[in-house]
Amino acid sequence: MAEIELKNVSYSFGDRVALEDVSFELNSPFFCAVMGPNGAGKSTLLKLMLGLLKHQSGIIRIMGYDVPREAGKVRRLIGYVPQVIDIDYRVPMSVEEVVAMAALSRDLPPRIMTGNVRRKVREVLELVELDDPSMQFSELSGGQRQRALIARALVSDPRILLLDEPYSMLDFNMKCEIAELLYRLHKDKGIDIFLVAHELSPCIHLEPIVILLNKRVYAIGRAGEVLTLENLRRAYPGLTEVPAGFILGEDHG
Protein backbone atom coordinates (compact mmCIF):
# COMPACT_ATOMS: atom_id res chain seq x y z
CA MET A 1 0.00 0.00 0.00
CA ALA A 2 1.42 3.39 -1.00
CA GLU A 3 1.68 5.88 1.87
CA ILE A 4 0.47 8.69 -0.37
CA GLU A 5 -1.67 7.88 -3.39
CA LEU A 6 -3.30 10.38 -5.75
CA LYS A 7 -5.28 9.28 -8.81
CA ASN A 8 -6.63 11.68 -11.42
CA VAL A 9 -7.05 14.54 -8.96
CA SER A 10 -8.37 17.76 -10.47
CA TYR A 11 -9.37 20.98 -8.73
CA SER A 12 -10.68 24.32 -9.95
CA PHE A 13 -11.41 27.65 -8.30
CA GLY A 14 -14.44 28.61 -10.40
CA ASP A 15 -13.22 28.67 -14.00
CA ARG A 16 -9.55 28.71 -13.01
CA VAL A 17 -7.98 25.27 -13.10
CA ALA A 18 -5.56 24.72 -10.19
CA LEU A 19 -4.82 21.02 -10.66
CA GLU A 20 -5.50 18.81 -13.66
CA ASP A 21 -5.46 15.02 -13.57
CA VAL A 22 -2.69 14.76 -10.98
CA SER A 23 -1.59 11.20 -10.19
CA PHE A 24 1.38 9.85 -8.24
CA GLU A 25 2.25 7.35 -5.52
CA LEU A 26 4.88 7.56 -2.78
CA ASN A 27 6.04 4.64 -0.66
CA SER A 28 7.58 5.16 2.76
CA PRO A 29 10.31 6.15 3.48
CA PHE A 30 10.39 9.25 1.31
CA PHE A 31 11.82 12.75 1.30
CA CYS A 32 9.82 14.34 -1.47
CA ALA A 33 9.83 17.85 -2.85
CA VAL A 34 7.14 19.15 -5.17
CA MET A 35 8.56 21.86 -7.39
CA GLY A 36 6.71 24.26 -9.64
CA PRO A 37 6.27 27.96 -10.44
CA ASN A 38 3.96 30.33 -8.56
CA GLY A 39 0.34 29.40 -9.25
CA ALA A 40 1.25 25.81 -10.11
CA GLY A 41 -1.25 24.41 -7.60
CA LYS A 42 1.34 23.32 -5.03
CA SER A 43 -0.46 24.76 -1.98
CA THR A 44 -3.80 23.56 -3.38
CA LEU A 45 -2.34 20.06 -3.58
CA LEU A 46 -1.32 20.19 0.11
CA LYS A 47 -4.71 21.53 1.20
CA LEU A 48 -6.48 18.76 -0.73
CA MET A 49 -4.24 16.17 0.92
CA LEU A 50 -5.23 17.60 4.33
CA GLY A 51 -8.91 17.82 3.46
CA LEU A 52 -8.88 21.60 3.93
CA LEU A 53 -10.35 22.09 0.45
CA LYS A 54 -13.49 20.32 -0.67
CA HIS A 55 -12.60 17.42 -2.87
CA GLN A 56 -13.86 17.76 -6.50
CA SER A 57 -12.62 14.76 -8.47
CA GLY A 58 -10.15 11.90 -8.30
CA ILE A 59 -8.90 9.77 -5.40
CA ILE A 60 -6.61 10.88 -2.56
CA ARG A 61 -5.47 8.27 -0.04
CA ILE A 62 -3.02 8.84 2.79
CA MET A 63 -1.85 5.64 4.51
CA GLY A 64 -4.90 3.89 3.13
CA TYR A 65 -7.39 6.49 4.41
CA ASP A 66 -9.64 8.18 1.89
CA VAL A 67 -9.04 11.91 2.51
CA PRO A 68 -12.47 13.42 1.86
CA ARG A 69 -14.25 10.80 3.99
CA GLU A 70 -11.64 10.25 6.69
CA ALA A 71 -9.94 13.65 6.90
CA GLY A 72 -9.94 13.56 10.72
CA LYS A 73 -7.95 10.30 10.80
CA VAL A 74 -5.57 11.58 8.14
CA ARG A 75 -4.88 14.80 10.07
CA ARG A 76 -3.83 12.74 13.09
CA LEU A 77 -1.10 11.14 11.00
CA ILE A 78 0.11 14.36 9.41
CA GLY A 79 1.94 17.39 10.73
CA TYR A 80 1.25 20.47 8.61
CA VAL A 81 3.57 23.45 8.28
CA PRO A 82 1.83 26.33 6.48
CA GLN A 83 3.49 29.11 4.51
CA VAL A 84 4.82 31.74 6.90
CA ILE A 85 3.07 34.45 4.88
CA ASP A 86 -0.28 32.92 5.92
CA ILE A 87 0.49 33.54 9.61
CA ASP A 88 -0.78 36.73 11.27
CA TYR A 89 2.21 37.80 13.40
CA ARG A 90 0.21 40.61 14.98
CA VAL A 91 -1.72 38.10 17.08
CA PRO A 92 0.23 37.90 20.35
CA MET A 93 1.29 34.25 20.68
CA SER A 94 4.25 32.81 22.54
CA VAL A 95 6.21 29.96 20.98
CA GLU A 96 4.88 27.68 23.73
CA GLU A 97 1.25 28.60 22.88
CA VAL A 98 1.87 28.01 19.17
CA VAL A 99 3.32 24.56 19.74
CA ALA A 100 1.06 23.50 22.60
CA MET A 101 -2.19 23.97 20.67
CA ALA A 102 -1.19 21.11 18.39
CA ALA A 103 -0.88 18.87 21.44
CA LEU A 104 -4.09 20.17 23.01
CA SER A 105 -6.24 20.16 19.88
CA ARG A 106 -7.21 16.51 20.39
CA ASP A 107 -8.73 17.29 23.80
CA LEU A 108 -12.13 18.87 24.35
CA PRO A 109 -12.33 22.51 25.52
CA PRO A 110 -11.26 23.90 27.90
CA ARG A 111 -7.82 22.90 26.69
CA ILE A 112 -5.57 23.35 29.70
CA MET A 113 -1.81 23.21 29.40
CA THR A 114 -0.69 20.46 31.77
CA GLY A 115 2.83 19.62 32.89
CA ASN A 116 2.96 16.78 30.36
CA VAL A 117 2.09 19.10 27.49
CA ARG A 118 4.76 21.59 28.65
CA ARG A 119 7.33 18.80 28.75
CA LYS A 120 6.39 17.60 25.28
CA VAL A 121 6.59 21.17 23.93
CA ARG A 122 10.09 21.55 25.36
CA GLU A 123 11.15 18.23 23.82
CA VAL A 124 10.11 19.22 20.30
CA LEU A 125 11.58 22.70 20.70
CA GLU A 126 14.91 21.08 21.60
CA LEU A 127 14.60 18.92 18.52
CA VAL A 128 14.32 21.99 16.29
CA GLU A 129 16.95 23.88 18.33
CA LEU A 130 14.73 26.55 19.84
CA ASP A 131 15.39 27.12 23.52
CA ASP A 132 13.04 29.82 24.79
CA PRO A 133 9.33 28.86 24.71
CA SER A 134 8.30 32.17 26.27
CA MET A 135 9.48 34.22 23.25
CA GLN A 136 6.71 35.91 21.28
CA PHE A 137 6.34 34.42 17.79
CA SER A 138 6.49 37.93 16.31
CA GLU A 139 9.92 38.47 17.87
CA LEU A 140 11.50 35.43 16.19
CA SER A 141 13.69 35.59 13.09
CA GLY A 142 12.43 34.01 9.85
CA GLY A 143 14.36 30.81 10.45
CA GLN A 144 13.21 30.57 14.07
CA ARG A 145 9.59 31.03 12.98
CA GLN A 146 9.95 28.18 10.54
CA ARG A 147 11.48 26.04 13.30
CA ALA A 148 8.61 26.89 15.69
CA LEU A 149 6.07 25.87 13.04
CA ILE A 150 7.95 22.63 12.42
CA ALA A 151 7.95 22.01 16.19
CA ARG A 152 4.18 22.51 16.23
CA ALA A 153 3.82 19.93 13.47
CA LEU A 154 6.08 17.49 15.37
CA VAL A 155 4.38 17.69 18.75
CA SER A 156 1.66 15.19 17.84
CA ASP A 157 4.22 12.60 16.63
CA PRO A 158 3.19 12.61 12.95
CA ARG A 159 4.14 9.95 10.40
CA ILE A 160 4.31 12.49 7.59
CA LEU A 161 5.22 16.19 7.55
CA LEU A 162 3.56 18.33 4.87
CA LEU A 163 5.35 21.65 4.42
CA ASP A 164 4.22 24.58 2.31
CA GLU A 165 7.17 26.63 1.01
CA PRO A 166 9.42 26.03 4.05
CA TYR A 167 12.28 27.96 2.42
CA SER A 168 10.40 31.14 1.57
CA MET A 169 11.43 34.49 3.10
CA LEU A 170 14.78 33.05 4.30
CA ASP A 171 18.36 33.78 3.25
CA PHE A 172 20.18 30.94 1.53
CA ASN A 173 22.10 29.74 4.62
CA MET A 174 18.90 29.61 6.63
CA LYS A 175 17.15 27.71 3.82
CA CYS A 176 19.95 25.14 3.92
CA GLU A 177 19.69 24.86 7.73
CA ILE A 178 15.94 24.19 7.48
CA ALA A 179 16.55 21.62 4.73
CA GLU A 180 19.17 19.88 6.92
CA LEU A 181 16.78 19.90 9.90
CA LEU A 182 14.04 18.25 7.81
CA TYR A 183 16.46 15.67 6.49
CA ARG A 184 17.63 14.89 10.03
CA LEU A 185 14.02 14.41 11.16
CA HIS A 186 13.50 12.09 8.21
CA LYS A 187 16.61 10.01 8.88
CA ASP A 188 16.64 9.98 12.71
CA LYS A 189 12.90 9.97 13.48
CA GLY A 190 11.63 8.13 10.42
CA ILE A 191 9.23 10.93 9.49
CA ASP A 192 8.35 11.10 5.81
CA ILE A 193 8.72 14.56 4.34
CA PHE A 194 6.50 16.02 1.62
CA LEU A 195 7.30 19.64 0.90
CA VAL A 196 6.30 22.03 -1.83
CA ALA A 197 8.65 24.76 -3.00
CA HIS A 198 9.28 26.73 -6.11
CA GLU A 199 13.03 26.24 -5.79
CA LEU A 200 14.86 23.20 -4.50
CA SER A 201 18.46 24.39 -4.37
CA PRO A 202 18.62 24.28 -0.53
CA CYS A 203 17.75 20.57 -0.44
CA ILE A 204 18.89 19.31 -3.81
CA HIS A 205 22.07 17.76 -2.35
CA LEU A 206 19.85 15.64 -0.06
CA GLU A 207 18.61 13.83 -3.17
CA PRO A 208 14.87 14.16 -2.66
CA ILE A 209 12.26 12.58 -4.85
CA VAL A 210 11.13 15.48 -7.04
CA ILE A 211 7.67 15.99 -8.48
CA LEU A 212 7.63 18.66 -11.17
CA LEU A 213 4.19 20.23 -11.05
CA ASN A 214 2.49 22.99 -12.94
CA LYS A 215 -1.21 22.22 -12.61
CA ARG A 216 -0.33 18.70 -13.80
CA VAL A 217 2.60 16.42 -13.06
CA TYR A 218 5.35 16.86 -15.64
CA ALA A 219 7.87 14.46 -14.14
CA ILE A 220 8.55 12.46 -10.99
CA GLY A 221 11.75 10.77 -9.85
CA ARG A 222 15.21 11.54 -8.52
CA ALA A 223 16.35 15.13 -8.93
CA GLY A 224 18.93 14.25 -11.58
CA GLU A 225 16.31 12.56 -13.76
CA VAL A 226 13.58 15.16 -13.30
CA LEU A 227 15.40 18.46 -13.40
CA THR A 228 16.39 18.34 -17.05
CA LEU A 229 16.22 21.44 -19.20
CA GLU A 230 13.55 19.80 -21.34
CA ASN A 231 11.26 19.06 -18.35
CA LEU A 232 11.83 22.50 -16.85
CA ARG A 233 11.02 24.19 -20.18
CA ARG A 234 7.69 22.33 -20.24
CA ALA A 235 6.78 23.03 -16.60
CA TYR A 236 8.08 26.61 -16.45
CA PRO A 237 6.73 28.52 -19.45
CA GLY A 238 8.57 31.67 -18.32
CA LEU A 239 11.96 29.96 -18.01
CA THR A 240 14.78 32.27 -19.06
CA GLU A 241 17.98 30.76 -20.38
CA VAL A 242 21.20 32.66 -19.61
CA PRO A 243 24.79 31.68 -20.48
CA ALA A 244 25.45 30.41 -16.92
CA GLY A 245 22.26 28.30 -16.74
CA PHE A 246 18.64 29.34 -16.37
CA ILE A 247 16.41 31.47 -14.15
CA LEU A 248 13.15 29.99 -12.84
CA GLY A 249 11.56 32.99 -11.18
CA GLU A 250 11.56 35.24 -8.15
CA ASP A 251 11.47 34.25 -4.50
CA HIS A 252 8.02 33.38 -3.22
CA GLY A 253 6.19 35.87 -0.97
Binding site: K47, R75, D86, D88, V91, M93, V98, S105, P110, Q136
Partner: protein, 268 residues
Protein backbone atom coordinates in the same frame (compact mmCIF):
# COMPACT_ATOMS: atom_id res chain seq x y z
CA UNK B 1 -29.60 60.25 45.05
CA UNK B 2 -30.15 57.60 47.69
CA UNK B 3 -27.34 55.26 48.67
CA UNK B 4 -29.26 52.24 47.29
CA UNK B 5 -29.64 53.86 43.88
CA UNK B 6 -25.99 54.92 43.80
CA UNK B 7 -24.94 51.39 44.73
CA UNK B 8 -27.15 50.00 41.95
CA UNK B 9 -25.70 52.42 39.39
CA UNK B 10 -22.11 51.56 40.28
CA UNK B 11 -22.84 47.83 40.48
CA UNK B 12 -24.32 48.05 36.97
CA UNK B 13 -21.30 50.04 35.81
CA UNK B 14 -18.94 47.43 37.26
CA UNK B 15 -20.91 44.59 35.65
CA UNK B 16 -20.88 46.43 32.29
CA UNK B 17 -17.13 46.87 32.71
CA UNK B 18 -16.62 43.15 33.27
CA UNK B 19 -18.73 42.36 30.21
CA UNK B 20 -16.63 44.71 28.09
CA UNK B 21 -13.41 43.29 29.55
CA UNK B 22 -14.43 39.74 28.64
CA UNK B 23 -15.26 40.44 25.00
CA UNK B 24 -12.78 43.24 24.25
CA UNK B 25 -9.58 41.19 24.49
CA UNK B 26 -10.65 38.46 22.03
CA UNK B 27 -11.93 41.21 19.71
CA UNK B 28 -8.54 42.90 19.68
CA UNK B 29 -6.49 39.71 19.58
CA UNK B 30 -8.48 38.31 16.66
CA UNK B 31 -8.14 41.63 14.79
CA UNK B 32 -11.92 42.04 14.81
CA UNK B 33 -12.36 45.70 15.77
CA UNK B 34 -13.98 46.33 12.38
CA UNK B 35 -16.33 43.47 13.16
CA UNK B 36 -17.29 45.36 16.36
CA UNK B 37 -18.36 48.17 14.03
CA UNK B 38 -20.75 45.77 12.28
CA UNK B 39 -22.19 44.55 15.57
CA UNK B 40 -22.85 47.98 17.01
CA UNK B 41 -24.47 49.25 13.79
CA UNK B 42 -26.56 46.08 13.66
CA UNK B 43 -27.59 46.40 17.31
CA UNK B 44 -28.92 49.88 16.60
CA UNK B 45 -30.80 48.70 13.49
CA UNK B 46 -32.19 45.71 15.38
CA UNK B 47 -33.33 47.84 18.33
CA UNK B 48 -35.15 50.29 16.05
CA UNK B 49 -36.68 47.41 14.09
CA UNK B 50 -37.87 45.87 17.39
CA UNK B 51 -39.46 49.13 18.56
CA UNK B 52 -41.15 49.57 15.15
CA UNK B 53 -42.54 46.03 15.17
CA UNK B 54 -43.83 46.54 18.73
CA UNK B 55 -45.53 49.81 17.71
CA UNK B 56 -47.10 48.45 14.52
CA UNK B 57 -48.18 45.04 15.77
CA UNK B 58 -48.82 46.10 19.35
CA UNK B 59 -46.72 43.21 20.66
CA UNK B 60 -44.18 43.29 23.47
CA UNK B 61 -41.09 41.83 21.81
CA UNK B 62 -38.00 42.33 23.98
CA UNK B 63 -36.01 44.94 22.07
CA UNK B 64 -32.73 43.39 23.20
CA UNK B 65 -33.77 40.17 21.47
CA UNK B 66 -34.34 41.82 18.08
CA UNK B 67 -31.10 43.80 18.51
CA UNK B 68 -29.22 40.58 19.31
CA UNK B 69 -30.78 38.64 16.42
CA UNK B 70 -30.07 41.34 13.82
CA UNK B 71 -26.48 41.66 15.11
CA UNK B 72 -26.04 37.89 14.98
CA UNK B 73 -27.49 37.60 11.47
CA UNK B 74 -25.32 40.40 10.08
CA UNK B 75 -22.24 38.93 11.81
CA UNK B 76 -22.91 35.59 10.16
CA UNK B 77 -23.42 37.38 6.85
CA UNK B 78 -19.97 38.98 7.25
CA UNK B 79 -18.46 35.58 8.06
CA UNK B 80 -20.04 33.88 5.05
CA UNK B 81 -19.32 36.72 2.61
CA UNK B 82 -15.68 36.91 3.67
CA UNK B 83 -15.38 33.10 3.57
CA UNK B 84 -16.73 32.75 0.04
CA UNK B 85 -16.86 35.98 -1.93
CA UNK B 86 -15.16 39.16 -0.71
CA UNK B 87 -12.37 40.39 1.54
CA UNK B 88 -13.35 40.97 5.18
CA UNK B 89 -13.25 44.78 4.75
CA UNK B 90 -15.71 44.67 1.85
CA UNK B 91 -17.99 42.22 3.70
CA UNK B 92 -18.03 44.46 6.77
CA UNK B 93 -18.78 47.53 4.64
CA UNK B 94 -21.74 45.68 3.06
CA UNK B 95 -23.09 44.57 6.45
CA UNK B 96 -22.71 48.06 7.92
CA UNK B 97 -24.50 49.51 4.88
CA UNK B 98 -27.32 47.03 5.39
CA UNK B 99 -27.52 47.80 9.14
CA UNK B 100 -27.54 51.53 8.46
CA UNK B 101 -30.30 51.08 5.88
CA UNK B 102 -32.41 49.18 8.43
CA UNK B 103 -31.77 51.97 10.96
CA UNK B 104 -32.64 54.82 8.61
CA UNK B 105 -35.70 53.20 7.00
CA UNK B 106 -37.28 52.04 10.27
CA UNK B 107 -36.43 55.31 12.06
CA UNK B 108 -38.31 57.15 9.30
CA UNK B 109 -41.26 54.77 9.47
CA UNK B 110 -41.25 54.96 13.28
CA UNK B 111 -41.18 58.78 13.24
CA UNK B 112 -44.32 58.75 11.08
CA UNK B 113 -46.34 56.63 13.49
CA UNK B 114 -44.84 57.31 16.92
CA UNK B 115 -42.54 60.18 17.96
CA UNK B 116 -42.32 58.55 21.40
CA UNK B 117 -41.05 55.37 19.77
CA UNK B 118 -38.41 57.38 17.92
CA UNK B 119 -37.16 58.96 21.13
CA UNK B 120 -37.00 55.47 22.68
CA UNK B 121 -34.92 54.39 19.67
CA UNK B 122 -32.64 57.41 20.07
CA UNK B 123 -31.95 56.36 23.66
CA UNK B 124 -30.14 53.32 22.21
CA UNK B 125 -27.69 55.68 20.57
CA UNK B 126 -26.96 57.81 23.62
CA UNK B 127 -27.65 55.25 26.36
CA UNK B 128 -30.50 54.96 28.82
CA UNK B 129 -29.06 54.17 32.18
CA UNK B 130 -28.44 57.57 33.70
CA UNK B 131 -30.42 55.87 36.42
CA UNK B 132 -29.85 52.13 36.54
CA UNK B 133 -32.67 49.77 37.41
CA UNK B 134 -32.54 46.35 38.95
CA UNK B 135 -33.53 44.85 35.59
CA UNK B 136 -30.47 46.55 33.97
CA UNK B 137 -28.26 44.83 36.51
CA UNK B 138 -30.04 41.48 36.11
CA UNK B 139 -29.73 41.66 32.33
CA UNK B 140 -26.02 42.41 32.49
CA UNK B 141 -25.38 39.69 35.09
CA UNK B 142 -27.27 37.13 32.97
CA UNK B 143 -25.15 38.03 29.93
CA UNK B 144 -22.01 37.85 32.07
CA UNK B 145 -22.98 34.36 33.25
CA UNK B 146 -23.18 33.18 29.63
CA UNK B 147 -20.32 35.13 28.08
CA UNK B 148 -17.49 34.92 30.63
CA UNK B 149 -17.24 31.11 30.94
CA UNK B 150 -17.64 30.55 27.19
CA UNK B 151 -15.08 33.21 26.30
CA UNK B 152 -12.55 31.76 28.75
CA UNK B 153 -13.16 28.26 27.43
CA UNK B 154 -12.64 29.24 23.80
CA UNK B 155 -10.41 32.34 23.73
CA UNK B 156 -7.28 30.24 23.12
CA UNK B 157 -8.84 28.67 20.06
CA UNK B 158 -10.23 32.00 18.80
CA UNK B 159 -6.75 33.49 19.11
CA UNK B 160 -5.18 30.49 17.40
CA UNK B 161 -7.60 30.64 14.48
CA UNK B 162 -6.75 34.32 13.98
CA UNK B 163 -3.04 33.46 14.13
CA UNK B 164 -3.15 30.66 11.56
CA UNK B 165 -6.52 29.66 10.19
CA UNK B 166 -5.37 26.84 7.90
CA UNK B 167 -3.03 25.52 10.57
CA UNK B 168 -5.88 25.52 13.11
CA UNK B 169 -8.16 23.69 10.66
CA UNK B 170 -5.39 21.18 9.96
CA UNK B 171 -5.20 20.52 13.71
CA UNK B 172 -8.88 19.59 13.60
CA UNK B 173 -10.33 22.77 15.15
CA UNK B 174 -13.76 23.60 13.75
CA UNK B 175 -12.86 27.13 12.70
CA UNK B 176 -16.35 28.00 11.46
CA UNK B 177 -18.05 26.87 14.69
CA UNK B 178 -15.62 28.90 16.83
CA UNK B 179 -16.14 31.93 14.62
CA UNK B 180 -19.93 31.70 14.92
CA UNK B 181 -19.77 31.18 18.66
CA UNK B 182 -17.56 34.25 18.98
CA UNK B 183 -19.93 36.31 16.82
CA UNK B 184 -22.90 35.17 18.93
CA UNK B 185 -21.12 36.14 22.16
CA UNK B 186 -20.04 39.47 20.67
CA UNK B 187 -23.59 40.19 19.54
CA UNK B 188 -25.01 39.31 22.96
CA UNK B 189 -22.46 41.52 24.75
CA UNK B 190 -23.02 44.45 22.37
CA UNK B 191 -26.83 44.25 22.59
CA UNK B 192 -26.70 44.09 26.41
CA UNK B 193 -24.24 46.98 26.71
CA UNK B 194 -26.12 49.11 24.19
CA UNK B 195 -29.27 48.84 26.31
CA UNK B 196 -27.55 50.62 29.17
CA UNK B 197 -24.62 52.70 27.95
CA UNK B 198 -25.77 53.25 24.35
CA UNK B 199 -24.42 52.16 20.98
CA UNK B 200 -21.84 54.95 20.68
CA UNK B 201 -20.19 54.33 24.04
CA UNK B 202 -20.36 50.57 23.49
CA UNK B 203 -18.61 50.95 20.16
CA UNK B 204 -15.82 53.01 21.66
CA UNK B 205 -15.48 50.94 24.81
CA UNK B 206 -15.46 47.52 23.13
CA UNK B 207 -12.02 48.04 21.64
CA UNK B 208 -10.12 49.94 24.32
CA UNK B 209 -9.61 47.55 27.27
CA UNK B 210 -8.33 44.82 24.95
CA UNK B 211 -6.01 47.30 23.24
CA UNK B 212 -4.68 48.51 26.60
CA UNK B 213 -4.03 44.91 27.69
CA UNK B 214 -2.22 43.97 24.48
CA UNK B 215 -0.19 47.19 24.18
CA UNK B 216 0.86 47.59 27.80
CA UNK B 217 1.05 44.06 29.20
CA UNK B 218 2.78 40.85 28.16
CA UNK B 219 1.03 38.51 30.59
CA UNK B 220 -2.31 38.30 32.42
CA UNK B 221 -3.99 39.98 29.46
CA UNK B 222 -7.51 39.08 30.58
CA UNK B 223 -6.90 40.54 34.05
CA UNK B 224 -5.62 43.74 32.45
CA UNK B 225 -8.62 43.87 30.12
CA UNK B 226 -11.13 43.33 32.96
CA UNK B 227 -9.46 45.92 35.20
CA UNK B 228 -9.15 48.60 32.54
CA UNK B 229 -12.74 48.02 31.38
CA UNK B 230 -14.07 48.24 34.95
CA UNK B 231 -12.03 51.41 35.56
CA UNK B 232 -13.29 53.02 32.34
CA UNK B 233 -16.89 52.08 33.09
CA UNK B 234 -16.89 53.08 36.77
CA UNK B 235 -14.81 56.19 36.08
CA UNK B 236 -17.11 57.11 33.19
CA UNK B 237 -20.18 56.88 35.41
CA UNK B 238 -18.47 58.95 38.12
CA UNK B 239 -17.36 61.57 35.60
CA UNK B 240 -20.85 61.68 34.11
CA UNK B 241 -22.32 62.22 37.57
CA UNK B 242 -19.84 65.02 38.28
CA UNK B 243 -20.45 66.76 34.94
CA UNK B 244 -24.19 66.03 34.93
CA UNK B 245 -24.11 64.33 31.53
CA UNK B 246 -25.31 60.84 30.43
CA UNK B 247 -22.98 57.96 31.44
CA UNK B 248 -22.11 57.34 27.78
CA UNK B 249 -20.61 60.85 27.70
CA UNK B 250 -18.42 60.15 30.73
CA UNK B 251 -17.29 56.82 29.29
CA UNK B 252 -16.59 58.47 25.94
CA UNK B 253 -14.41 61.17 27.55
CA UNK B 254 -12.42 58.64 29.60
CA UNK B 255 -12.03 56.36 26.57
CA UNK B 256 -10.66 59.23 24.50
CA UNK B 257 -8.16 59.98 27.30
CA UNK B 258 -7.17 56.29 27.39
CA UNK B 259 -6.57 56.25 23.61
CA UNK B 260 -4.48 59.43 23.83
CA UNK B 261 -2.56 57.91 26.75
CA UNK B 262 -1.76 54.81 24.68
CA UNK B 263 -0.58 56.92 21.75
CA UNK B 264 1.63 59.05 24.02
CA UNK B 265 3.01 55.90 25.72
CA UNK B 266 3.85 54.38 22.33
CA UNK B 267 5.51 57.56 21.06
CA UNK B 268 7.52 57.81 24.27
Amino acid sequence: MTLDLLALIYLSAAANGLLVGAISLPLIISRSTLFALTITHAVLGGAILGIYVNEVLGVGLPVQLTAFLVALMLSILVAELSEKFFSEDVSIALAVALATTITVVFSYLLARISPAGLSQAWSYVAGTSAVATLSDLQRTLSSLAIIVPLIHMTSGEIKYISFDRDGAAALGLNTRAYRYLFFALGSLAASTLSMSMGVLATHVLLAIPGAIAVKLFRRKLFTASYLSAACLSLGGYALAQALNIPPSGGIGILSAIAILGMVVAREA
